[in-house]
Symmetry: C2
Subunit: 198 residues, 2 copies
């Protein structure tokens, strides 16, 4: 295995990069309680993208962990989770955005959020903002009240050094952020680390 | 109010039609325990489509009912629920498809499902299959175990004549089905009725 350097995503920012079939992507929470939104597209046909609806349907579970595949809108497996030291991630909610901050937080001059960061990072790959789906939100802790359906955004269960590892099942474009929403990250904005290994 | 005729969607099929801003769409379960998948696009820019992730985030709830808006991927309200005699619908899962039947049911010669029916009905409007999102699944009953995250597809709570009514907040293209998945409809395929009123 060729171990690459750890890359840092600065607080409230995002990156995009390619991941080849068979490569491993490790997403690390270096300080704890920090969310990283992840999206993935088929590099050879960017109309194919991860799908929460397909994935949760096939898993019969809303919380995914080691062993679970992430399916595309065309029902192909794009990524598979092969290691997970936390066991609580979200796959229900879209990346936070200027609209999120306006509607939920009442901000008058809102940050562009993970959505804006992903849109900027993915633009060089020809991926339009409308094509950004529900993200796989690593470390995001969204409990559901089974009776009422109420959802709450709680502090992540991740501690410093916790990680989730994915293997690519096809050639991909990945978008990844250090999440920009106060509530999702227990009130402070921290970096995210990641590593790509062949 | 100009009351139009009730239209029938045959079992395991789907339709598409336009809905003008201010018009009401009533979706009726004429026999009970039958799901109808609904998708909606901005008629003047089909890149804008209902978004489960935005809607659930802003509602802080996975079960929507009277008064709740359905937001688009651009955080605009496309539809609002103004009446609901059931109170249990799903907004987590994608329309059933040939892949669903292959992966979940093990069918070797699968039906095209709601996904295929929607793709065919929406094609004349220039909407591609990849642009079909998580649908608002009227009457679909998907309880969640809050502790484990397990989801199950249970018989709908709708009885004969139950309905849900939406008002369009902009000019829309609607896709609507009589759902094709056995489990979602308590083991039999029934029609769906709908009515558009000005």
């Amino acid at each position: 295995m060729c171990q690459a350097d750890v890359q840092q995503i600065e607080p409230r920012s995002g990156v995009a990069f390619t991941l080849d079939r068979g490569q491993r992507l490790t997403v690390i929470d270096p300080r704890g309680e920090q969310v990283a939104d992840l999206v993935a597209y088929n590099r050879h046909d960017i109309g194919e993208v991860i799908s929460s609806g397909r994935t949760l349907d096939y898993a019969s579970r809303i919380y995914l962990t080691t062993g679970d595949p992430l399916y595309s809108n065309r029902s192909n497996v794009l990524l598979r989770i092969v290691e997970d030291t936390v066991g609580r991630h979200d796959f229900l909610l879209t990346p936070c955005s200027a609209d999120t901050f306006r509607i939920i937080y009442g901000d008058t001059n809102p940050h562009r959020g993970c959505f804006g960061n992903l849109a900027a990072a993915l633009a060089p790959y020809g991926i339009a903002p409308d094509a950004i789906p529900v993200a796989f939100n690593c470390f995001m802790n969204v409990p559901i009240d089974g009776k009422t359906g109420a959802l709450t955004v709680e502090p992540p269960l991740s501690r410093a050094g916790d990680r989730i590892v994915f293997v690519a099942e096809t050639d991909l474009i990945i978008g990844l952020t250090a999440c920009s929403a106060l509530q999702s990250n227990n009130g402070s904005f921290k970096p995210i680390h990641y590593r790509v290994e062949t």
